[in-house]
């Protein structure tokens, strides 16, 4: 297996507006990487391009050395909002969907995660709060054994206590060689588990640094992120 993610010269336009320009990014196996940037910076778009649901882009995107969209989808797990299911759908039915269509889905792993998240498998989507749905999405995402996990603001609706518990446990759920790319606004909360930070600004990756290097400069990840924007504004 090659690198879990390799992006070369990525350009994406929508409505005649450039959203991503000349983006290059390579992630090594076994890392937890934060994807940071302002609202509208293109974090979600980038994840959608990687997972093959956004179209009409230029450049090369490879997941575990695979460039074809179907192969990429097979080697990554993306936090989807489950919008394809009716509100009356039970968790059990969603699990069946995953079992049938994803060969790497582990029911055993899901059951462990479901219990950890305190979710009842007979619950319907309509009966769940935003936070509960997000917990379910995280459980489903990590029940697949893939090379790359894409987590797009996965904790925004989850209460503070549960969020801390989940973030601490993420490292246990992923396989040793798998890489996680996570975009989130709670930088300080995820900082403890991060290996690298990627900042998107001006439609491209403008900073890719290891947390080790950041800490070596006597800065926390949050301070680094804030000072990065401050510096840019001052300039």
């Amino acid at each position: 297996m090659g690198n879990p993610l390799e992006i070369t010269d990525l350009v994406y336009k929508k409505n005649q507006k450039k959203i991503i320009t000349d983006l290059n990014l390579t992630l090594k196996p076994g890392k937890i990487v934060a994807l940071l940037g302002e609202n509208g910076a293109g974090k979600t778009t980038l994840m959608r391009i990687i997972s093959g649901v956004a179209k009409n882009y230029r450049g090369t995107v490879k997941v575990a050395s695979f460039a074809k969209e179907a192969d990429r989808k097979a080697h990554l797990s993306f936090t989807d909002g489950l919008t394809g299911f009716a509100n009356s759908t039970k968790i059990n039915d969603i699990v069946k969907f995953y079992q049938i269509l994803y060969h790497d889905f582990s029911l055993k792993q899901f059951e462990q995660l479901r219990k950890f998240m305190n979710l009842d498998s007979d619950m319907r989507l309509s009966e769940m709060s935003k936070g509960m749905k997000e917990k379910l999405v995280i459980a489903l995402t990590f029940s697949r054994k893939t090379d790359l996990y894409l987590l797009d603001e996965p904790f925004s609706g989850i209460d503070a206590m549960a969020r801390k518990k989940i973030i601490k446990s993420i490292i246990l759920w992923k396989q040793e060689k798998s890489t996680i790319l996570v975009s989130d606004h709670f930088v300080n909360e995820i900082a403890a588990v991060l290996d690298e930070v990627v900042i998107i600004k001006n439609k491209t990756v403008c900073m890719h640094k290891s947390t080790e290097a950041i800490r070596a400069d006597n800065q926390s990840v949050e301070e680094f992120y804030e000072s990065f924007y401050q510096r840019e504004e001052d300039e």
Partner: protein
């Protein structure tokens, strides 16, 4: 191939989810309509009234079957487009071309299943009516005798007409799916391409322009291309001589039109049509 079959199975289950409810509604509605139409609502139960009631119920059931098949067909069209734009369905590791074909094929499979269930329900109701209504009993026996007599005269031409008509119905069902997808994908691709602030206004202008263009073409154009494309539809409207040659030509042209739109939809779907952001 394995993922293609598994995806088909899941889509087929999704699209046939409401079949039982639809059939129950049809059965109960046709029963209620028969009941209230029967003898102005004043039902005096005797054997004749009882048997006639079943005949009326069967008739209303058969007539409403067309309406319910149409409704079911429309729901499959709607579900096709819902699946196409859903991020949940698009994230499944299957090639977009196969996904599109799976989606259309499962809709057609569901439609076929619905038609078979309609036939089975009609047969059950038919057997009940056959048992209770002596008049209906006689008519059916006479009809089968007639059919038996005519079967000896069935030649290749009649067989061709029969299977040709079925084939045309199948091609028309596919045509509906393809054309709805085409309108959905092309308009979405256009909206994604045009500048955001102006795209809605542009889109309206372009839509009006396209409608005017189509209307003008339909009325004015006499060229061979339009004649060819419109032939299957003119055949179905009874505007051609209606010979076997016409049917064959109509079938071939309908097949070519379907293949053309299938190809076009596949390209639009795999290259330009994005799934909606699912958060």
């Amino acid at each position: 191939m394995a993922i293609f079959n598994r995806y088909f199975t899941v889509l087929f289950r999704l699209k046939t989810k409401w079949i039982s409810i639809l059939l129950i509604i049809q059965t109960v509605a046709s029963f209620a309509m028969s009941f209230f139409n029967f003898n102005n609502g004043h039902v005096y139960i005797n054997r004749t009234i009882f048997s006639n009631f079943f005949t009326l119920w069967l008739t209303i059931f058969v007539v409403s079957a067309w309406l319910f098949t149409g409704i079911f067909y429309l729901t499959t069209c709607f579900q096709n487009e819902r699946v196409s734009k859903s991020q949940t369905w698009r994230l499944v590791p299957i090639d977009d071309k196969k996904l599109y074909f799976d989606n259309i094929l499962s809709s057609f499979g569901a439609l076929l299943f619905f038609v078979i269930l309609e036939i089975i329900c009609t047969l059950i109701l038919g057997v009940v009516t056959f048992t209770f209504d002596s008049q209906f009993h006689t008519v059916i026996i006479e009809m089968f005798t007639d059919i038996g007599r005519h079967l000896q005269q069935v030649d290749l031409e009649i067989m061709f007409n029969f299977f040709g008509a079925i084939m045309m119905a199948i091609l028309c069902a596919f045509f509906g799916y393809f054309i709805i997808s085409f309108l959905n994908y092309s308009s979405r691709a256009l909206l994604d391409f045009l500048p955001q602030a102006l795209s809605k206004a542009y889109f309206r202008v372009i839509t009006v322009f396209v409608i005017i263009l189509i209307a003008w073409l339909a009325i004015k154009a006499n060229d061979i291309g339009l004649q060819i494309i419109s032939f299957p539809f003119r055949f179905m409207m009874g505007e051609t001589t209606g010979t076997n040659d016409d049917l064959a030509l109509a079938l071939i042209l309908m097949l070519v039109i379907n293949l053309f739109f299938w190809l076009l939809d596949t390209i639009l779907f795999s290259k330009f049509f994005e799934a909606r952001e699912g958060k």
